[in-house]
């Protein structure tokens, strides 16, 4: 579904991604792991067309999207729920969600909205509330709900469990599994190595702007290197 080869990118002149290779198959849950500052967020920003890559190639559903603009990438169904949520604080919950379907037909909207509100009853209760006044957990739900409104085929979640209480983290991971069952392919960027590998099919470990380690979730969980550096065992 997604093929990335030799992807290089950075900010100004500073190279952050030094040749990333990743492939994701349809209906998979794939975890992208790595410590702070290795370039995970930069990588998915490049996938979404938020920053231009320097070299390398990205194909999505067989189509070269290396130079495609962000809006057209949304059209193709590659949707990102960003780190830090980036919801629209001055808009209501409903307006935030409706904008999630900005590139989708009007007819699809109400169906999408209904589906999202089924998934997050909390959002339905607060449908007219300004997003800025929501709690952190509710804002995270809203960010994911907004992503779901875009009818994602590949949903990228950047640290969705950040700042959530343990109970909510649990629910968050259950939700991801549920979305995957509904047919979405998931790329999960996480610090929470153990939990994310438990629900993933495969994982990639990024180090210093490149993929250092890859394998099935089980292989990675059993890998002594990974255990040492990320699980603190």
């Amino acid at each position: 579904m997604l093929e990335v080869t030799g992807l290089k990118a950075g900010y100004n002149r500073v190279e952050v991604l030094r040749g990333v290779d990743i492939s994701i198959r349809p209906k998979e849950i794939v975890a992208l792991l790595g410590s702070n500052g290795v370039g995970k967020t930069t990588f998915i920003a490049t996938l979404s067309g938020l920053i231009q890559s320097w070299s390398g190639e990205i194909t999505f559903k067989g189509q070269d999207i290396t130079r495609t603009d962000a809006a057209s990438i949304v059209d193709l169904g590659l949707i990102q729920v960003p780190e830090g949520r980036h919801i629209f604080p001055n808009l209501t919950v409903q307006e935030n969600l409706v904008l999630g379907s900005y590139r989708r037909g009007r007819k699809a909207r109400s169906a999408n909205l209904e589906r999202v509100l089924e998934t997050f009853p909390r959002l339905r209760e607060r449908i007219r509330q300004k997003a800025a006044t929501m709690s952190g957990g509710e804002q995270q739900m809203l960010a994911i709900g907004r992503g779901m409104m875009a009818e994602p085929e590949l949903l990228i979640l950047d640290e969705p469990s950040l700042g959530l209480s343990p109970l909510l983290v649990e629910e968050m991971f259950e939700l991801i599994v549920e979305l995957n069952k509904q047919g979405m392919t998931i790329l999960l960027v996480e610090q929470n190595v153990h939990l994310s590998l438990e629900i993933s099919n495969r994982g990639f470990v990024m180090e210093n702007g490149a993929i250092k380690l890859t394998g099935t979730a089980k292989e990675l969980l059993d890998n002594p290197d990974l255990q040492k550096s990320y699980l603190g065992v």
Binding site: A70, H86, E95, R103
Partner: protein
């Protein structure tokens, strides 16, 4: 002592003038709210719009009110293209550059106007320019009443646009959260240009409503923009209702000030208010603290 029978006409007059000020301020506040810049070319573009109305009348005999069908759309296109080409590109995304670019634009536009149209004042003679209606015992010029209604309708239309359409939601979303906007597929350059275009398009409406009672000359924008800027600060930067309310307040203060202090000193009240607002409520009447 001033009695009510002369105070009322003065207040009503102030409200009608204020509505026109509000129109100029609405565009300014919209552009500020979305692009976070003060558009220094606003006055010059108002002048362009007024000349458009004037020449449509002069060359084709088009009534200023019929020009409402053409001039706002033309100004919208001018604004859209300006933002998409000169302002957006020359600024390289830096706010202080945009400021300078719009300032430069205003100088170029005004000097072109001086060169081509000379500094003579021009008027549009309409048969109804001196018609009056009686309202609560006060006599008001018909064009001013029309301008008042037109300004309210424009504000209402803008409010509906911003609140209930995809475009409006996209504009408001982009105003506060650029990354989020890009991630839902909002085309940033296009929406910035639409916002600028709408702000300038509103100037086109203002020009059509103004010309039956005002005259046009190359620097006509200066006075309006100074007042509009005061209104934007008074109402709260980026607030629509604030701009409308601010327009009315300023219009009334100017009219009543003129009555009390004499015509030439009427505007003093505006600047007293401006300074008081900056001192005691810098976020404006309806603005939010930064």
């Amino acid at each position: 002592m001033i009695n009510f029978s002369i105070l009322l006409p003065s207040i009503l007059n102030g409200l009608t003038t204020g509505a026109l000020y509000a129109l100029v301020a609405l565009g300014l506040t919209l552009i500020y709210g979305v692009l976070h810049i003060i558009n220094f070319a606003h006055g010059a573009l108002l002048m362009v719009a007024m000349y458009l109305v004037y020449f449509l009348y002069k060359l084709f005999g088009l009534d200023p009110y019929l020009a409402l069908l053409v001039v706002p759309a033309a100004m919208f296109v001018i604004g859209y293209v300006l933002q998409r080409t000169i302002i957006g590109n020359a600024s390289h995304g830096r706010d202080e550059n945009i400021l300078l670019v719009t300032l430069g634009l205003s100088i170029v536009i005004e000097n072109l106007a001086l060169f081509f149209f000379a500094s003579d004042t021009q008027v549009v003679d309409t048969p109804y320019a001196f018609d009056v209606v009686e309202l609560f015992g006060a006599f008001l010029p018909v064009p001013k009443v029309i301008a008042f209604v037109g300004a309210l309708l424009t504000a209402l239309a803008l409010w509906l646009l911003m609140g209930w359409t995809d475009l409006g939601r996209a504009i408001r979303a982009l105003a506060r959260e650029r990354k989020g906007a890009r991630l839902v597929g909002i085309n940033v350059d296009h929406i910035f240009a639409m916002s600028f275009g709408i702000g300038i398009g509103v100037l086109g409406i203002a020009a059509c409503l103004l010309l039956p009672t005002y005259y046009v000359y190359p620097q006509v924008g200066h006075g309006f923009v100074l007042i509009a800027f005061t209104i934007v600060v008074l109402g709260g930067m980026g607030s629509f209702i604030g701009a409308l309310l601010g327009g009315f307040i300023i219009g009334v203060v100017e009219a009543v000030g003129g009555l009390v202090l004499g015509e030439s000193l009427g505007q003093i009240g505006i600047f007293v208010i401006f300074i008081l607002v900056l001192l005691f409520r810098p976020q404006g009447l309806l603005g939010h603290r930064a």
